[in-house]
């Protein structure tokens, strides 16, 4: 086992500092070291996207990023999408709930993070753009129908400024 190295990462707005094995994946750092288990793991090959988080504002598959590569970065996970405590939801979360955009819920955190990145880059996407924008995230339950519907609805509510968390 190689010597551990220190990483400093800002996760959901909070500064975290840990000694980690150099080979530790970011997803395991988030889940096992920091206890943020909302980010999931569904494959070994970066296909499923269940582990999607935002790193410096852009979506990454955290199973394909080493924790040491996140040193100095700002990481946002599903736990950081809604302000804690007051029960408020991010418009994307709200839309997934409203439009039945999830069933087993396992792909959902990654799907929501990927959607967040998509809508930041393209606030007014067509259905086709949403479908292509989410093709890095697999869902086995919903057939994507209601996920696409939810993302379109979230885009609309975010454009109109409704329900954006403080």
């Amino acid at each position: 086992m190689a010597e551990s190295v220190r990483v400093n990462v800002t996760v959901n707005g909070e500064s975290r500092s840990s000694e980690v094995e150099p080979r530790l994946l970011l997803v395991h750092y988030l889940r096992d070291t920091l206890g943020l288990t909302g980010t999931h793991i569904g494959c070994d090959t970066s296909n499923c996207g269940a582990c999607t988080v935002l790193m410096d504002g852009e979506s990454v598959k955290s199973c394909t990023v080493l924790a040491v590569q996140a040193d100095g970065a700002k990481v946002q996970t599903i736990e950081g999408m809604a302000p804690a405590g007051n029960g408020a939801l991010h418009p994307i979360q709200e839309a997934f709930w409203e439009h039945h955009g999830l069933q087993c819920g396992y792909c959902t955190p990654g799907m929501i993070m990927a959607a967040a990145d998509l809508l930041k880059r393209n606030p007014n996407p067509t259905e086709e753009e949403v479908r292509h924008g989410l093709e890095g995230n697999l869902c086995r339950c919903t057939g994507y129908h209601n996920i696409v519907k939810a993302v379109m609805a979230a885009a609309e509510s975010m454009r109109s400024g409704e329900g954006v968390p403080a």
Binding site: G38, C43, G105, R131, T142, I147
Partner: protein, 825 residues
């Protein structure tokens, strides 16, 4: 249909029928779910497995010394070290039929029989460290010939998967009725096809996983399963521990699709090693392990023969099925193909229907249930045959269907295979489908597009599904032969405040039980679903239950919850009568009030009654305090959902690529409890089947190496490859249960593969393509086009034109069905 219980009239004001947002979702959309991998226990160790990288071999030595010496490694065990009381279970013992059954141990004993067969287990303190240690275990093999093609496996002189069994044939089983010889003799045209329904994976996005924690004499197992109570029962025998000392918890489960309707080796190993080491042991499946060693589905070769008269009357349908079962059995492996036989009549009044099944061992992993489990295979065969026969007759395939549909007035209808369909209106769903698809307009558009070199096709399927497993006397030991009961259980507990908790034996993995069951119970009790909590998946807190599979949740588990709630309602009415000084028969439940009929001003809310029940100063003489009831419900019949689907596809004839332009589904699952959940189930089912039809296939090569061992190679559909679906419903209540419900979890998967194949064939008929097997990958479609063009140019009629199939791409002709070589690569 049976009368619906008072308080459950399905009026729009009641919770039943409401498009209610799911109660499950707030925790799941915020990352606060609790899946197996989210659970971490003090002192927990990690387990990794060494799996065979060859398909068939004798193990000559295993050197574990290097691994044992590594830092953090606590134990390394092999098949010889593992001392358990029973092999893994297979629970189908059909009366009068011999099923050759190999012993299946959690770790291989002397021989491996498929790539991925577990050979050794390593436990250590670090999740990366145990993978390092597993890599240091050296296994020497003496390779044996691999048996891969199921039809070759049945030939004399084939190498054997299990020498001691003396054959690769697992069993023969048949179900049918009517005089097949007479039926075929009576037919003007007999259409024959060899239809391959290839091997697929359940591919839930959450892989399997489990954690075992042994404390004193008791063990708790958290496991990603659809059947926690059954897992507990099996573990009792394997571990030699009395059942009540075992607690199995299915926490949040990230999809199952049949692949978690099982009891797997790793569950036994985690428990065994936790006991041995005195520490909790966690195992998580990698996706590569999931594709190699979590059950596969389908993998049938169906030799189908349909007799039809010139006027379109179907006289008989005969299916001979060769089922590739893999090397060992999981829970229901040899039964699954037999399930197909129960719906081989389809939606049709066919005098003679027969299914003959031969099961085969091969050096692959076990097949078992995958969403639909036998019924998609049957429906695929029937609905493809219908369109093949229509083409041979030069008849409109919808007209052929209509001519043979069981008419609405015939229900309940006994069909040739001997089962009784509960209710149906097959013309009704098809008519409704055609309100969404203007066929005349489509045909005009199709003709125009063809002139511009665009090949657009439309395909249909109509299906009936057997679901709601139960009834025990039919499915159980002396009937079909599955060694168990098939009822479901529920406890409804009303708390002193008037809120309620439901404990169900059903065990969800995405279906939305917490919402749907809450709606049913709330309506029965006269409260709001927001005040009903549904608990599931824990053998210590709920009653024994059979789990979630086979679209049985609502019609068996939901009905049990409804019946328990009705018992509570009856007691509440007696108590209300006592409190209101009225006769119990004069009490009605209306608008959330227990009131003297027609006197809403003096009504009591459930909270008033429950408080009186828990503070029993004034209850009727002889009445027990408290407000809680249990129901164990075993239905009298299966339920039989049905529907009609259409797909419109565009085929790029230069590349073979198929695009789904529209997919329209009209399903009838009886009375709707929550339309939102129904639509979600239909969407997911359709996508799963389009996946099988166009992309997905588990592929082993001739040496038995798994070629599709990751999601790079096993191609699940993404959002970009699917359209939005157009769904609609009709409602024909089931007379079998009080709710009037049927199942819907598998409907899309059952209907959509033949719809897709029929659509692609329709697009390519002008080029001479008359049939293709799935998956309709660009390569396969392109090859079929080339072969058809090579076989004769220009539009070709569908007479006895026969295509050869040198590439195993499955384009079969209509002559005598003969096994094609290499159909399963």
């Amino acid at each position: 249909m049976s009368a619906v219980t008072e308080g459950a009239t399905g009026t729009q004001s009641g919770p039943i029928g409401r498009r209610m947002k799911r109660k499950e979702d707030p925790r799941l959309i915020t990352g606060r779910g609790n899946y197996v991998d989210d659970i971490s226990l003090p002192g927990m160790l990690h387990m990794a497995l060494v799996r065979s990288d060859v398909a068939h071999a004798r193990i000559t030595s295993i050197d574990k010394s290097a691994a044992e010496g590594m830092e953090g490694v606590h134990a390394v065990i092999t098949g010889e070290d593992l001392d358990v009381g029973a092999p893994l279970p297979m629970v189908w013992i059909p009366p009068g039929v011999e099923v050759k059954t190999p012993e299946h141990w959690p770790l291989a004993r002397g021989e491996v029989n498929h790539v991925g067969d577990p050979v050794a287990a390593v436990v250590g303190s670090d999740k990366y460290g145990v993978i390092d240690a597993a890599a240091q275990i050296v296994v020497q093999y003496e390779e044996l010939p691999a048996v891969i093609d199921p039809e070759k496996a049945l030939e004399d002189g084939s190498p054997l998967v299990h020498d001691d069994l003396g054959t690769n044939k697992t069993h023969e089983w048949a179900l049918g009725g009517g005089d097949m010889d007479a039926a075929m003799a009576e037919a003007d045209v007999v259409v024959e096809r060899r239809i391959v329904n290839h091997r697929t994976a359940g591919a839930a996005i959450e892989p399997r996983g489990c954690i075992a924690e042994w404390r004193g004499e008791s063990v708790t197992l958290w496991t990603a399963t659809q059947i926690p109570h059954l897992v507990r029962l099996f573990l009792a025998g394997e571990l030699g521990v009395s059942e009540e000392k075992i607690r199995v918890i299915a926490p949040e489960v990230g999809g199952g699709f049949g692949s978690k309707l099982n009891h797997y080796a790793e569950e036994v190993l985690a428990c065994y090693l936790s006991r041995k080491l005195g520490r909790p042991v966690k195992w998580l499946e990698t996706r590569s392990e999931n594709l190699a060693a979590t059950t596969h589905g389908r993998d049938l070769i169906v030799y189908c023969k349909m007799g039809v008269k010139r006027d379109g009357t179907i006289t008989g349908l005969h299916a001979k099925i060769v089922a590739d079962l893999g090397a060992y059995y999981q829970l229901l492996t040899p039964f699954i193909p037999c399930f197909a036989a129960f719906v081989m009549s389809g939606c049709y009044k066919i005098p003679a229907v027969q299914t003959d099944i031969v099961g085969v061992f091969t050096n692959k992993f076990a097949t078992d249930a995958v969403r639909g489990a036998g019924r998609p295979e049957a429906t695929h065969a029937i609905e493809v045959m219908i369109e093949q026969a229509a083409a041979e007759l030069g008849m409109d395939p919808l007209e052929l269907r209509r001519k043979n549909f069981i008419p609405k007035e015939d229900f309940p209808a006994e069909v040739a295979v001997g089962v009784v369909y509960d209710s149906g209106d097959y013309h009704g769903t098809l008519d409704k489908l055609l309100e969404h698809v203007n066929l005349d307009e489509f045909r005009r558009e199709q003709a125009e597009l063809r002139e511009h070199g665009v090949y657009r096709g439309i395909g249909f399927s109509t299906y009936v599904e057997i679901c709601g497993l139960a009834p025990s006397r039919v499915v159980g030991p002396s009937g079909v032969g599955i060694q168990g009961g098939f009822w479901e259980s529920a406890v409804v507990r009303v708390h002193p405040s008037g809120a309620a908790t439901v404990y169900t034996g059903s065990s969800p993995h995405g279906q939305g039980h917490e919402t749907g069951f809450a709606q049913i119970v709330a309506e029965r009790l006269g409260i709001e679903p927001e005040n009903v909590e549904v608990m599931h998946g824990d053998t210590d807190t709920g009653p024994f239950g059979m789990g979630t599979y086979g679209s049985r949740t609502l019609s068996v588990g939901g009905e049990a919850a409804g019946r328990a709630a009705v018992k509570v309602q009856e007691k509440a009415k007696k108590l209300a009568a006592h409190l209101l000084e009225a006769a119990p028969e004069d009490i009605e439940l209306a608008d959330g009030k227990y009131q003297v009929r027609g006197s809403p001003d003096k009504g009591l809310a459930l909270a008033d009654i429950s408080l009186a029940a828990y503070v029993p100063e004034n209850i009727p003489e002889g009445m027990e305090p408290g407000l809680e009831e249990t129901s164990f419900y075993d239905p009298e019949n299966f339920v039989w959902p049905f529907g009609a689907h259409a797909a419109i596809v565009d085929v790029d004839i230069d590349t073979g690529k198929v695009e789904v332009a529209r997919y329209v589904a009209v399903d009838d699952c009886g009375r709707a409890i929550n339309p939102l959940l129904i639509e979600g189930q239909v969407h997911g089912g359709i996508a799963h089947a389009i996946g099988q039809a166009l992309f997905e296939q588990v592929v082993y090569n001739d040496e038995g190496q798994l070629i599709t061992g990751t999601f790079v190679d096993y191609a699940l559909p993404t959002a970009a490859e699917l359209p939005s679906f157009e769904t609609d419903r009709t409602e024909t209540p089931s007379p079998v249960n009080d709710l009037g419900v049927k199942g819907v979890g598998e409907a899309g998967t059952i209907a959509a593969t033949p719809t897709m194949v029929n659509a692609v064939v329709d697009a390519l008929r002008p080029l001479g393509v008359s049939y293709m097997d799935m998956p309709l990958t660009p390569m396969r479609v392109w090859q079929a086009i080339q072969e058809a063009r090579g076989a004769g140019s220009g539009p070709r009629a569908t007479e006895q034109g026969r295509q050869t199939d040198e590439h195993g791409s499955g384009s079969a002709g209509s002559g005598p069905a003969a096994p094609a070589e290499g159909g399963e690569s």
